[in-house]
Symmetry: C2
Subunit: 474 residues, 2 copies
């Protein structure tokens, strides 16, 4: 056994025996090197090994932490191999509205919510940017920025792409009222009523609703919690059907949390390019990674302008500001025109405020804090799932975002569970919200983007009891 | 001749001989009564008579002014009796985008623009409201206000309806990203691809584009510059077709400027109610009246919840803020849901800022100034049309808004004129932009919402020369 392996084994032991717990910070490389009298590179190699085994995880500029995965964890869900890939009309809205309505009250524990705790954001810093930039606003800019949006903001977004290694020109970027509008505009740019569009299964219900509203048909392709969309099935569908677009979340997919590996993203783009099918890439969670660097987007592998990359500031900086964008490749003009005939532009002062905030720095620091917060919450929520939910429960272990996808024992119907739970002031997002086929009846999405405290723990406990009671009655 | 008739005749003489000019303010009733040694009621009656003859016009809280109509004026256009009311697919976007693109530069004289001068608005007062309200924003409000929008703003809008004599509950109001989104959401709430919708002829090109994008078919009904949509033709169309909606501008219609008389609005609503056809009422110019009070909307005659009243602050208070709304009657829930699946919400700080501004007063004073400004500009522009445009030119004389609709001699093609003019830095909005049939080739819309000065006068002179040159060559 090499020196670094011995050290790794030693640390692994203290984790297994509970000396070190989930969320604990490991000594810095310098500290460990001094205290154990080994070279810094030995410590590095030991930490790499532990990271590869999933016991610890690096946080950007902050060090290594014991992961949730190091403790007893529920097993991960299997890929849903039975997804029916025939095209179908979509009708999921009633259910979605029912769930969304239920989480509007502050008294409800928002496990079913799509949004994180709104107090996690730098609202006072943003307010300062707003106050100063609205005073300086050039009245004529409201006309000049029509359709494409604030030029400074587009430049700031292009700079962020650049720092992630992506060359996107500001004039490929169209500012929108949140990512939801960006996605809708991209869809309108390439698909007409009656056309088919490939989505994931399970999929973000917003995609299902957008398809429903636009009179489009969905082709659902099974999606794996770790690998993302099943590329073999996708290839078959592309051969067989003539889809007008493919709408995917490549990073921390909602609801699964899957992070598609880089080489699979590349394969995906190459495959779509062969069939000349545009990709609408929803990347709103990409900034919320728990690892060392931002995961790349499929857009990075796009050579033909076929990828429309959509994102926003709603999940990572400024909820309620409703500012998103599309970097729409060869479809940029169509998207801008579509914008011109639907909402014309996003709020000018709000765009100016975000441009000001981004230009002043501080965004990266905020993001680091936010990522660490979500990583901590995830550990706590996951431990509670182990503790309170029945045996046979499976859960994803996403490396970012703020959703767990939980697969309950087969007999549990999460639509019923949702109705019972909401009566007790607890919301969940039942599985059938995420499928045109109303599948995933024993699954649910659990939002862990809200503080772990007595209230949330009690709510998870109650939820666990409801599930166990249901299990006994079937 | 009665005393007041003699006084009226005397004043009419000084107008005709040019002693008093367009835009001049008449003496107050008290002044005139003293200086001419007649009773105040005699002065009142004389002024009423002159107003009835169109020589002077009252301005709210400001007195009487000599109107443009008192000087030599071009004749008004006739109703277009030849409009073809068969349903048709719409394809007007290319032309519209070409014109819209041309007016983005500050160097272009914006006669073709849809927007007034952006410096006419209280931007600094709004900035103050923005700065103070964004600091006080409750983070949770961004979730609670989802879909319907800021509760304070909805209450302020309901209060304005109330002061216009209309009882609209705040929960009938959905805040949107400008009126354009409100109109699109209302359309989506009642029509599906392939359905037919009644619009005016000429119509706002935004309506044509919305229909085109949604895969809807247009039934164009001739519209009169003074009376609005032709109710006899509308009745025939309703008998014959099964339109899913009727989309009209009842007050200062774009492009005609027609103000539908109250009794015709009532007749319209009664007719649509008989056929159970919902009315999408676009009322974005209603606040820009030159008379004594805000014209009523068709919504005021709605007893069945069939009228969706759409408006915004973009033309009268806060361009670039992109805040509008729909008061959508029985379709309110559908509109809110549609909002939820497209853009979720309008910018929260922007909504809060407008709510703050409206609650603090000052809006009415700003509106009075703005109306007077547009009335003055209208007089000046109209005089220039008489002076520089060839004989045979007709022009509307709207009682509000900031558009003239100009009918040139038959031989003039305004699409050609637009191309020639834009090369000289002058934009116009050619007639074919306003029709699915590409009609109105000898017509154009002229924006008078920008200051009358040497530059605008010169541009109108150049335009007149271009028209006269074209006339000679045909």
């Amino acid at each position: 056994m090499k020196r670094y392996e011995a050290l790794a084994e030693e640390i692994a032991d203290s984790i297994r025996t509970g000396v070190m717990k989930t969320g604990d910070r490991l000594p810095s490389v310098r500290q460990a090197s001094t205290s154990r009298n080994v070279s810094p590179s030995t410590v590095f190699e030991a930490y790499y090994l532990l990271e590869a085994r999933g016991l610890i995880r690096a946080r950007e500029r902050s060090g290594y932490y014991v992961t949730a995965g190091s403790q007893k964890l529920p097993p991960e869900p299997e890929i849903n191999l039975h997804a029916d890939t025939r095209t179908k009309a979509v009708d999921v809205s009633e259910l979605v509205f029912e769930v969304l309505e239920s989480i509007k009250s502050r008294d409800v524990t928002p496990f079913g919510s799509a949004f994180p705790d709104p107090t996690l954001f730098p609202l006072q810093r943003l307010a300062k940017s707003m106050a100063s930039s609205v005073r300086k606003m050039d009245p004529w800019s409201t006309l000049e920025d029509l359709a494409f949006g604030n030029a400074n903001l587009r430049r700031q977004i292009a700079l962020r792409y650049l720092s992630d290694g992506l060359q996107i020109q500001p004039d490929e970027i169209v500012i929108t009222n949140g990512a939801m509008e960006a996605l809708n505009l991209c869809l309108a740019a390439v698909a007409r009523p009656g056309d088919s569009v490939i989505i994931e299964s399970p999929a973000f219900y917003g995609a299902l609703q957008a398809l429903e509203r636009a009179g489009l048909r969905a082709i659902e392709v099974p999606t794996h919690p770790r690998q993302g969309i099943d590329l073999a099935v996708l290839a078959q569908v592309l051969e067989r059907s003539r889809p007008k677009a493919c709408w995917l979340m490549t990073n921390f997919q909602n609801p699964l949390g899957s992070l598609m590996p880089d080489e699979r993203k590349q394969e995906l783009v190459e495959m779509l390019t062969r069939f000349e099918v545009p990709l609408i890439e929803d990347d709103v969670y990409g900034e919320l990674y728990f690892g060392n660097k931002r995961p790349v987007s499929a857009k990075a592998f796009d050579t033909m302008g076929l990828v429309m990359h959509c994102s926003s500031f709603s999940k990572c900086l400024a909820p309620g500001y409703r500012i998103g964008w599309a970097a729409a490749g060869r479809y940029t003009q169509s998207v801008a025109r579509c914008k011109m005939t639907t909402t014309l532009a996003a709020s000018a002062p709000t765009q100016a405020a975000l441009a000001d905030y981004l230009s002043k720095g501080g965004y990266d620091k905020h993001l680091r804090q936010l990522r660490n917060t979500f990583a901590d919450y995830q550990s706590a929520y996951m431990q509670a799932v182990v503790k309170y939910f029945p045996a046979g429960t499976r859960s994803t272990r996403p490396d970012g975002g703020y959703f767990l996808w939980i697969e309950l024992p087969d007999a549990i119907d999460t639509l019923e569970l949702h109705r019972q739970a909401i009566a007790l002031g607890i919301s969940i997002a039942p599985g059938p919200m995420f499928s045109a086929q109303r599948g995933f009846r024993n699954c649910m999405r659990l939002n862990y983007g809200h503080p772990w405290n007595g209230r949330t723990e009690e709510a998870l406990k109650v939820l666990g009891k409801l599930i166990q009671a249901k299990q006994r009655t079937v």
